[in-house]
Amino acid sequence: MKAKKLFSLALAGVMAASVVACSVPGKGSGDGIVDMTFFAAMAGKEKDDGNEIKELIAQKTGVRVKESWLTGQDAGEAIGSIIASGKLPDFIDGGDGCIQLYENHLLVAWDDYLEKYPNLKEMYTPEEWDKFRQSDGKIYWANVFGNHYKQDTTTGHNGEAFWIQVRVLEWANYPKIETLDQYFDLLEKYAAANPTMPDGTPVIPYTCLCEDWKYYCLENAPMFLDGYPNDGCVIVDVSAGADNPKVVDYNTTSTAKMYFQKLNEEYAKGAIDPDFATQTYDEYIAKLSTGRVLGLCDQYWDFAYNIMGPFAQTQTTTDGTSYRLDEMGCDYVPLGLVAEAGMEQQWHSYGDELNQASGIAVTTSCSNPDLAFSFLSAMLDQEIHDLRFWGIKDVDYLVDENGLYYRNDQMRENWKSDSYKAKHTCEYSYFPQWNGLSKDGKNCMQPAEQPSEFLAGLAAPLKKCFEAYGAGNYNDFIGSKYCDQYAWYPLWSWSNGVSNETPGGIAWQKMGEVKHMWLPKVVMSTDFETDWAAYQQAYNDVNPQAFLDEAQAEVDARLATAKANGTA
């Protein structure tokens, strides 16, 4: 009896302690290190408590950050409910909701701290920083991605493409694939000749994610097929000169009809995953992780990081033969397809894409903003940057006689393993970071861009495929036209934040609803022409012109600002 009482007393004590711990964020945990919190309106993987590199960074910076991610809900809902509840983390990346956080005066301005912390100021040029300024003229967040130190060392293609497994290309002896017809023809032929995986499950020639806002995988290909870069919401036609850009709706072009008609034919033939329209993101990733999907259209970041782990795992079939998906040639390479063979395309955008609409911010709930900014600044110290992306010297990477960093096979495997990453590595992946060349002038800021690491990290079939096409890396492979960015690019940094308060904003949301229903429907239709006409009717009913007019106004405004600054 007494023991029981003591136990419950202890339990109550623990609970009280944890309540206190929860209610006082940003307070030290007794070891002189301040615990802070971070929320990203993105999906992500939690790190284990006591993560090794996180502790090392904490000792050096005096701050330990607990990161949390979206679970279930989408970014807007998460930010909406955070605003409503008033419970903010110390750091936040609100994604498209950043502007909401600003309008509700929940963020701390960077301006004073930029002067104090040169590491942060160095991230962007004054003109670039100006793009982050909000209506009150201050800076409240900074995007951390795709920013190159000294020189562009990009090896990847982070954007959208029609991806195809290298084994398919190898089987066909590395043909040149330019059009949708050639692409689907090859997928079908390969699937007919190799209908199953080693474990007996059938291959899926093509799938397409259609869940929530990620239905862009289905929706925006016509923009690229016509040879335009990713402005996200419209085509900006510069055929009348770069001084006279014209906004064009890619949903109603003949290319759009051709593309969806092609998908419709392929669906009828059974070449497209029957569950494509109803699958959830998790189901999609699970499907890709089995290596069964030969082709898909998506942006690299949306799928690639999640399938690396499973692709590198040794699997065993029931008859005892073992295989690895990456060694079988299941890795994907990007194809920059076009509407007609011979056209130039811009699936890959050169240069840093500055998305001024979102980034990391410090909130007004943070009790010690100066410490928070000093932490952000410390993230860019080369020593800590190396810890984040390369790891601990001799444990996660080695240094050769020329001072170049490299990894051995075991280290590379470790960095692909989800469990190793949870307990050991700490990228703070949404905190300030560099791409490009390291401050030592030799290495790359991120291992994936280190030429030796990039090549060594490729499985044999992928390497062979790059060689066959004479490409050194992903962006060579996709072979986009090199093109300077226009002043308005990327326009999605505007459309992602359009509010419902204007007719164009309401139209934009309704256009999304109509497309989200009709596009999978026309693909699955047994009478394409009728359904296409019905779709176009429904689409025009929601007044897309209102949106296009606002897009045109934004393009003109951005062009005018750039001219005024003398940068266009």
Partner: protein
């Protein structure tokens, strides 16, 4: 006659006495203060947590901005309501919410009663207990898990399609989740699967309260098993059924959020979106947190729910049944 008159007289006197009874005095207060203090706690609780938040309804008539607060936001009259009722999608989501709510209410009530009666007829005690436990366990699963199971079962390679293909009923996997005609059925079925066992508990309890003499006398009169169910069990359950029906009527518009939200997709959005999902899409999205619109939709929901409760209650009153108030 005389007797009646005197009774009426008495009643009159009683009411007069009641009316003339002394106003609430200090002495009275002193006598009752403990009781008053105890009940005051609940009254205050109710005022703070049920009535004070209603001040927020003002937001529906403003263009509410979090930073400006209720005091500082601009009033826009009925604009938000106008937006709602001029939006075809909103009319569609009202229909969906009603339809799914009504289907759900009807089938879950019927199934729970049928299940409770059938279970009550089971003689073997252990078997009965086991079935009851198994059947109410799904109640404790969260919707996200139920949706995962339903989703898995209904994909082209799920168990349902596998069976249909195996028995040659279809020659190609049927896209259940992408067919707008199937959606309400799937939702209703999921509800039944999850909640029937749980809902049956209250009816089972009511059945145990029925006087066994009734059954015995019915048996003497020669009633069989089904006749006993029909003439004794069901009529005895009637008050319980009516009360639960009235209470659940108020919940018809809460037809659901999680299930429809998680199970829905682009193809079926015209039948899957409920009022709650609409509010989420238009009032709590990243580009525009329009709390005013959300509040307006909430007021509409409350008004309709209240109307439904009063309606059912009045019908119950008219038919002389048990009622809530």
């Amino acid at each position: 006659m005389e007797n009646t008159v005197s009774q009426q007289e008495k009643l009159k006197q009683l009411t007069e006495k009641e009316l003339n009874k002394p106003k609430f005095t200090a002495k009275e207060f002193k006598r009752q203060w403990v009781l008053i203090a105890i009940s005051a706690v609940y009254v205050i609780y109710g005022i703070i947590f049920y009535y004070l938040p209603l001040i927020g309804w003002i937001m529906a008539f403003q263009n509410f901005k979090y930073y400006d607060g209720i005091a500082g936001s601009k009033f826009v009259g009925l604009d938000k309501f106008k937006f709602l009722f001029s939006d075809k999608t909103f009319l569609l989501v009202i229909r969906n919410t009603f339809a799914m709510g009504a289907l759900n209410l009807f089938f879950s009530t019927v199934m729970a009663i049928v299940f409770a009666i059938l279970l009550n007829e089971v003689r073997n005690r252990h078997f009965k207990k086991t079935i009851q436990t198994i059947s109410y366990l799904p109640h404790f699963l969260s919707w996200i898990i139920v949706v995962a199971i339903v989703h898995d079962a209904l994909t082209s390679t799920g168990i349902i399609n596998e069976l249909l293909l195996k028995f040659g009923i279809v020659d190609k996997a049927y896209p259940f989740l992408g067919d707008p005609n199937m959606f309400w059925g799937i939702v209703t079925f999921s509800h039944l699967w999850k909640e029937t066992g749980w809902n049956a508990i209250i009816y089972l309890a009511a059945i145990t309260a029925i006087d066994p003499c009734l059954y015995e006398s019915a048996a003497i009169d020669g009633a069989g098993r089904f006749q006993k169910m029909w003439y004794i069990t069901l009529p005895s359950l009637r008050p319980t059924i009516i009360i639960l029906l009235i209470m659940n009527m108020g919940n018809v518009l809460n037809a659901g959020f999680e299930l429809q939200y998680l199970l829905g997709n682009g193809l079926v959005q015209s039948v899957s979106k409920t009022i709650d999902i609409y509010v989420l899409d238009w009032a709590l999205n990243a580009r525009n947190t329009d709390y005013s619109l959300g509040t307006a939709a909430g007021i509409f929901k409350t008004a309709v729910s209240l109307a439904l409760i009063f309606l059912t209650n009045t019908i119950a009153k008219k038919t002389g049944d048990e009622r809530l108030f």
